[in-house]
Amino acid sequence: MDFIIQNILNALQWGSFYALIALGYTLVYGVLTLINFAHGDIFMVGAYIAFFVASWLLGPVFGLDPTITFVLAIPLTMILTACVGVTLERIAYRPLRRKGAHRLYVVITALMCGLILEYGNLAALGASRKKFPDLLDKVIWDIGGVSVTNLKVLVIFAAIAVFIFLNFIVTKTKIGMAMRGISYDKFAIPLMGIPIDAIIVFTFILGSSFAGLAGLLFAMSYPILEPFMGALIGWKAFIAAVVGGIGDIRGAFYGGFLLGFIEVGVVTVFPSTYRDLFAFTILLAILWMKPTGLFGVAKHTKI
């Protein structure tokens, strides 16, 4: 029994990261129908920013206490990562959009930007990995054979909070409606008096800053940073977002946790060498039964 509960907790933590990253994918997708393949790498950049911010705050100049560092690192990381995301939007995606390029060309550009971030990092910082400093005193609670750390709890709550916040923005506010509207018809947006570029920048700010937050939390949970750390988790988070129903905030959230549960579940039940094979077969089966993901609405073509 405790074995199962332990694995549920494992899945919750791992799913939280998928969910946090998938939310960023979905947010940008929900506005531009752009699969921002650079998102996983923005997440990586977020982790590195968190690393530098934390080392700087802990370092000789300030010499802050780790907990205060943690509290300060959250907004700083989010802001700086948002800047990276917005920069990408400005210099790479926007010109293409203005030229009316096919959406897949923007997707390929995003893929390329991701590579530039990865290898640029490798060129600038070298191949050796970075160790993220411990910011929170680790507490391990052992409840009837199940161990939980304070960090795990924090991560899970952060994912839920981010989801609630984003879901509110997207479904309840006018800016959220504008975001959804853009994805359907960019042409008519200015005709409603809506500044389209401002909304898009806002989306990138949201998406990237939460990628930064995810990067910080990830670096605290898995404190080893390397330039390619965002690649695989990024791809998988994208998969999670699609299985949930891309473009839908709930889809990304539940899709992330679903993928976490599938991966952990397969390892728990089957020999772990089959993890990818089984996990992806399950995902394929889900998409087979629900061709537009769990929450995705089939785009109705009125003829």
Partner: protein, 370 residues
């Protein structure tokens, strides 16, 4: 030829994973090579048959991809006209590149590849590392003795042929001992970061120790997560642990664990110590085993060139001479210990078991010889 008068350079190619999955391996190897190169060339070159020839090293990136490794090998051979090649490091690249070198009759030494196929039936291909079938039992024997272990668990990387191979060999040799079963045999993917599901299974099986034949970066995460899940027993590792970065990344949680490797950095003596100190000074880090093995591979290559006794201007002749020179090396004293070579060109050398001390140094524990 008549090139004896001119100071002809000897070109050696390096087929390294500078990008891709394991860029740090490429970087470490390159660093060691640069150091060696500086040594030789600042001394005026390599003395062969009473004359000094400068060395030239050409590094090329194989992106950790099989087809790139063969392309790089061909480019080094055909375009750069190197006389010998060092690398690739991991078996995924070394097996195909070894085939290419063998077909094109160019001597190649892989510093780090432990897959038997790399050199099997390939008279032109050599290596500096011992093979997995040797390392597996070393670990099993040591753990049985040291921890009084009856049960073992294994966590390895399925997509990494090295890790998977070693895990299987270990499992076989552990079970052959008849002390007890391998209670958990779990795997993960190359770029995974979360191992808690596998570790939960392992911890639930309550093994006496966990064998983790994984790269050091994953080790750091695995050990940490295992401790978070309440595992208190020891870990055992393999030569892929042997990077000082392990301690930087893993910290105190790795202290007190053991791994088998090619050499022990702490408490090293003689040439090994000199190498370590100089490397540390130049690059600010203790060299990993692949760096040390690259150094030894170059050493072997240099000895082979000296064995040739003469530098031919025609690369084809020179290659044959080097190959014969390599085959002629019956034993070699390197910084990773001394080795003898068998008919396949594989070294027979001692493995070292190293303990990660309470100050985070790799302390020599025991040497196991075949």
């Amino acid at each position: 030829g008549c090139g004896e008068d001119k100071a002809q350079t000897i070109k050696i190619g390096f087929n390294l994973p500078l990008t891709g999955d394991i860029p740090e391996v490429g970087e470490g190897s390159k660093n060691a090579a640069e150091m060696y190169l500086k040594d030789i060339n600042s001394a005026g070159g390599l003395e062969v048959g009473g004359q000094k020839y400068p060395l030239e090293f050409i590094y090329m990136d194989n992106e950790s991809k099989a087809e790139s490794a063969t392309n790089v090998a061909l480019k080094l051979i055909d375009q750069e006209k190197v006389v010998a090649i060092i690398g690739p490091n991991s078996s995924k690249q070394a097996v195909p590149a070894g085939g290419t070198c063998n077909d094109n009759r160019v001597p190649m030494i892989s510093p780090w590849s432990t897959n038997p196929s790399t050199t099997l039936d390939r008279p032109w291909v050599f290596r500096a590392a011992f093979l997995d079938p040797f390392q597996g039992p070393v670990v099993a024997d040591f753990a049985a003795k040291k921890f009084n272990a009856k049960t073992a668990a294994v966590l390895f990387d399925v997509s990494n042929d090295y890790s998977k191979g070693l895990a299987e060999i270990f499992k076989a040799s552990w079970e052959a001992k008849g002390l007890g079963p391998v209670v958990a045999f779990e795997s993960h993917g190359t770029k995974d970061q979360d191992f808690s599901a596998q570790l939960t299974t392992i911890v639930a099986a309550n093994p006496d120790f966990i064998f983790v034949p994984d790269n050091y970066n994953q080790v750091a995460l695995i050990v940490r997560q295992a401790r978070d899940l309440g595992y208190k027993g020891p870990f055992m590792g393999s030569d892929a642990w042997g990077t000082p970065d392990l301690v930087t990344l893993c910290g105190e949680q790795c202290y007190g664990n053991y791994f088998s490797t090619h050499y022990a950095a702490a408490g090293a003596q003689g040439a090994t110590k000199v190498f370590i100190d100089r490397y540390q000074e130049a690059y600010g880090a203790v060299p990993a085993d692949y760096a040390a093995l690259t150094w030894d591979s170059i050493g072997m290559m240099v000895e082979a060139i000296k064995n040739a006794g003469k530098v031919y201007s025609d690369p084809v002749e020179m290659r044959t001479a080097i190959r014969d020179g390599l085959a002629a090396i019956k034993s070699f004293d390197g910084i990773t210990g001394s080795s003898k070579f068998d008919a396949q060109g594989d070294p027979i050398k001692c493995a070292v078991v190293v303990k990660i001390s309470d100050t985070g140094e790799f302390v020599f524990e025991e040497s196991v010889c075949p």
